[in-house]
């Protein structure tokens, strides 16, 4: 028996059932602790003042926006190669979560930009590539919407996801080339010099973990829903078949 057996829809429903709720609870706890810690018990930054508190939602959501797409890419590949339905449906389930994460990163960034850079929006590479990512998400979801037959939709969206990923990375480089930008560098790196101060670091890591757990919990719930919807589709189709 390989690990693929867990991708059987019935098995999947079985083993995910018990872990959904604990996962959701754990996610809530992590996010709440991280946010409360960050919001109430960390000092202001000497340069950014209290606006630094936005970091606790901005950075986790930005990371999850990218990670959600990465997960969709892997799931699409699995569907195309091994044709496990759960995999295709998980990709479908992740997209709306990714969109919301992208939107949160964009909106909190835009709000943050007003005091820091004096503008809501600038065509900075990081910001721009997020906008492009948003477009990819919208296109991907529109594609799922537009096709009635679920298997056809799974196939076509998977192909789109693969090609889209290549072009998303290309755009990232293109945008960098185009404009050097205002945005922060990577400050979570181990390189001490660019690192954010420890006081910000701990609550931030906690919210990041919380967002990851939240993502997993939501993907599980949504995938389970999609599996049921898929089954419902088959039943209805069969029903209509028998009527005819």
């Amino acid at each position: 028996m390989s690990i693929w057996k867990y991708a059987n829809p019935l098995k999947f429903m079985g083993w995910t059932g018990p872990i959904v709720v604990p996962m959701a609870v754990l996610a809530t706890v992590c996010i709440l602790t991280g946010i409360i810690w960050g919001f109430f018990f960390t000092p202001d930054d000497y340069r950014m003042g209290s606006s630094v508190k936005i970091i606790y939602i901005h950075v986790p959501s930005a990371m999850m926006a990218i990670n959600a797409w990465a997960m969709m890419l892997v799931a699409s590949l699995i569907w195309l190669v091994r044709r496990h339905h759960v995999s295709a449906l998980a990709a479908k389930a992740a997209a709306p979560i990714g969109v919301v994460m992208t939107l949160i990163a964009l909106i909190t960034g835009a709000i943050w930009g007003q005091p820091m850079w004096g503008t809501w929006w600038a065509w900075d590479p990081r910001l721009t590539s997020f906008l492009i990512l948003l477009l990819f998400y919208i296109g991907y979801m529109a594609m799922w919407q537009a096709i009635e037959n679920p298997d056809t939709a799974a196939d076509l969206t998977s192909v789109l996801c693969l090609v889209g990923s290549v072009f998303a990375i290309l755009s990232r480089y293109a945008v960098n080339f185009w404009n050097q930008g205002l945005h922060q560098g990577a400050s979570l790196s181990l390189d001490a010099e660019e690192n954010v101060a420890d006081v910000f670091w701990f609550p931030l890591v906690l919210t990041i973990v919380g967002f990851v757990l939240l993502f997993i919990a939501l993907v599980l719930i949504r995938t389970r829903t999609e599996i049921r919807a898929r089954r419902l589709f088959s039943l209805n189709a069969r029903e209509r078949m028998n009527d005819a």
Partner: protein, 50 residues
């Protein structure tokens, strides 16, 4: 409530928007989950009875 200084509006707006979006996402996930589960149960019942 900590002292937010001159950035109070920005910080609160950011948290508020995030909260709204996350709440919307969770609600949508929840509602659809329940709706689909009901519909499926109904369909199964209909199939087994009819």
């Amino acid at each position: 409530m900590p002292e937010l200084g001159k950035y109070a509006a920005e910080v609160l707006a950011a948290y508020g928007a995030t909260f709204l979006l996350l709440a919307g996402l969770v609600w949508a996930t929840w509602a659809r989950s329940i709706r689909v589960r009901r519909a499926l149960e109904q369909a199964l019942e209909q199939r087994d009875n009819g």
